[in-house]
């Protein structure tokens, strides 16, 4: 069931996920389509997330946006991020310029080349922020060496987080702390719970699908949603994921399609990354529980694989 509508205000709206921010000429959604999208969300009871480009929007747009309760996702490089609910740092090189605070959620997009920089960054902001979501943008091309590095980075980050929790500061880092608090899958769910209204006035599975295949729309606000093979976006139709307990996994259907040609099938790399995060979460949780009870309903059993696919012959 749909719950969220992402409205991509411009082709160059900042990416908050695995896909790259478009490096094309700006193209804003029309004011008319924006109104239609908002009306659709109101009638369908959907939460709206507006995704902003770096450049400022005309006043007319701001007033239309303000007509509905919503979440603002803005790039950290935008002129004014003070009203953003979520600030996206699109590359580690922008991290130094962020005015970190406790009122906003942060998304950091970074690739393997600067993974190591995550550790000092978290050391620096752990007392300032409440939550940081980290998106490793090039996970689909990770090698074994990259996975080793990733595990080391998360292990060290886990040690920082553990100390903070023991000191009473429950800072949230998605890759580590989400799994510690989840008892079922909590994925992106694009195409199932979330849909995107793109600048072309059409619905798309998510901004990545729109940017990659603009012709493959799935309805519009006037005619409604029309997702072909919609069941394939649901967890129960994902043979690998439905057996998995890396609940924090983003389960990115765009990456799935990109790597395996099927939206319901993750790549080996996506699974391994999720399991490295799971293992780091397990160790962090274990460390926190050494001192006292924490999230007693959550269990993260120790497992002997990094990719559930390895077990498919036993299913």
């Amino acid at each position: 069931m749909l719950k969220y509508l992402v409205i991509q205000l411009d082709d160059t709206s900042v990416s908050f996920c695995h896909y790259p921010t478009a490096d094309t000429a700006p193209r804003m959604i029309s004011a008319s389509d924006l109104r239609k999208g908002i009306l659709f969300a109101m009638k369908e009871n959907l939460n709206i997330q507006f995704v902003y480009p770096q450049r400022s929007l005309p006043d007319e747009y701001l007033s239309i946006i303000d007509s509905i309760d919503h979440t603002k996702i803005k790039p950290s490089t935008a002129d004014d991020t003070s009203d953003a609910d979520i600030v996206v740092i699109d590359g580690m090189e922008h991290a130094a310029d962020v005015a970190w605070g406790s009122e906003q959620i942060y998304i950091l997009r970074t690739g393997r080349a600067r993974m190591q920089d995550i550790i000092p960054l978290i050391e620096h902001i752990k007392h300032i922020i409440k939550r940081l979501n980290i998106v490793i943008t090039d996970i689909d091309t990770f090698t074994q060496h990259d996975f080793t590095t990733y595990a080391e980075v998360l292990h060290k980050t886990g040690e920082i987080v553990e100390k903070e929790y023991l000191a009473g500061n429950a800072v949230q880092i998605n890759l580590l702390t989400d799994r510690m608090m989840l008892t079922s899958m909590n994925n992106c769910n694009a195409g199932h719970e979330t849909l995107t209204l793109a600048p072309d006035g059409q619905f798309h599975i998510c901004p990545a699908f729109y940017l990659e295949s603009p012709d493959e729309s799935c309805g519009d606000p006037e005619n409604g949603v029309s997702i072909r093979n919609a069941q394939l976006y649901r967890l129960d139709h994902a043979p690998i994921c439905r057996r998995c307990d890396s609940y924090q996994c983003r389960r990115c259907v765009w990456l799935n399609r990109h790597t395996t040609l099927e939206v319901n099938t993750p790549s080996h790399e996506q699974c391994v990354a999720a399991h490295i995060e799971r293992e780091a979460s397990r160790l962090t949780l274990e460390g926190i529980r050494r001192i006292g009870e924490f999230m007693p309903d959550v269990t993260i059993p120790e497992i002997d694989y990094n990719d559930p696919f390895e077990k498919h012959n036993n299913w």
């Binding site: 790597t259 099927e262 939206v263 319901n264």
Partner: protein, 403 residues
Amino acid sequence: MDYSIKETPESWQEGMAKNITFIVTKDCQLACKYCYLVGKNTKERMPWEVARQAIDYILDHEQDFPEESVIWDFIGGEPFLEIDLIDRICDYLKTEMFRRNHHWFDSYRFSFSTNGINYHEEKVQRFIAKNREHLSIGITIDGTERKHDMNRIWKVDGAERGSYADVVRNIPLWLSQFPDAGTKVTISSLDLPYIKESVLHLYALGIKEVNINVVFEDVWQSGDDRLFEDQLMSLADAIIDNDLYRHYACSFFSEDIGKPMDSKTDNGNWCGAGRMLAIDAAGDFYPCTRFAQYSLREKKAIKIGNIHDGINQNRLRPFLTLDRCTQSPQECIDCEMASGCAWCQGENYDAAETSTVYQRATAICKMHKARVRANNYYWNKLFRKLEQMGEERPQSKLTTVKC
């Protein structure tokens, strides 16, 4: 005391063997009307160098192919048009499997599905003699002359010409070399009135196993299911009344079909796509030949690698994790006659609304149900007869035919 060995069964190493298919040519002498190969042509012939590199890749990666046995399969178009290439490939395979001490040297077959037209030719016969102990050759003959010639026609301009006479002359030679060989018959809408006579005709030719299936494509007309059911019941009568069931088998009749299936314990995939490997003339790898471009009407080919870069394991994951229920509509999951209802992953993909292998095509639904009704009739009649004769129930020789 001397000893001898009984021949290995025809369904050789089922479930234990890797099937590796060389698409040696996309050319064929025939232009069969029901052929799913929409992109046949005379240009795409596999060069020797591509075949050699494919073999080297496969044998170099023994750990990635742990199956106990291998079936080296050759298809076209018509594979025997490329008999020189095939002969060279097989010689190289034998030599290299032995040279590398590969575990498949102790368990391999060369398999062919041919239209039978040049079966008698010297080069083909020389190849057969040379590889006799490792061959499995199926000749496709569709039944009576009129049934065969309705679909299996020569690729020529001008007046339509059937190929029956050119095939049937080679059946005695084929059966003398492979007495237990079966043939594969394909049924499309126009063929339905000729099923009974065709199966009986094949039996009369000495072919003891007739593997027969209706096409998966959406070609079925209103009333076809009734016609199909009538033909099968009539065939059932002929088989039972003439005691043909003792020595002949027809895959339409199987005790195992037409039952509900448990969504947990009986949830396997029907098709072996992804567990097989097909290689085309360009050196590209496919999960099955049905995913090569020449087999697809609507969709883009699904390549899973090539001879230079190897196999992209991520591309295989959807195939290897496919199960029955995830790809089936609820109607199929709940179906009371589900068992034995087949599908072809390639046809599923080609007919799907989106680019996915996870949407089962259901064009054969009413034909399967007709088959189940006739099948029930067959077994009820046969068991009653056996009971009255005081005989035990025989085991059906064949189960259903998988692609």
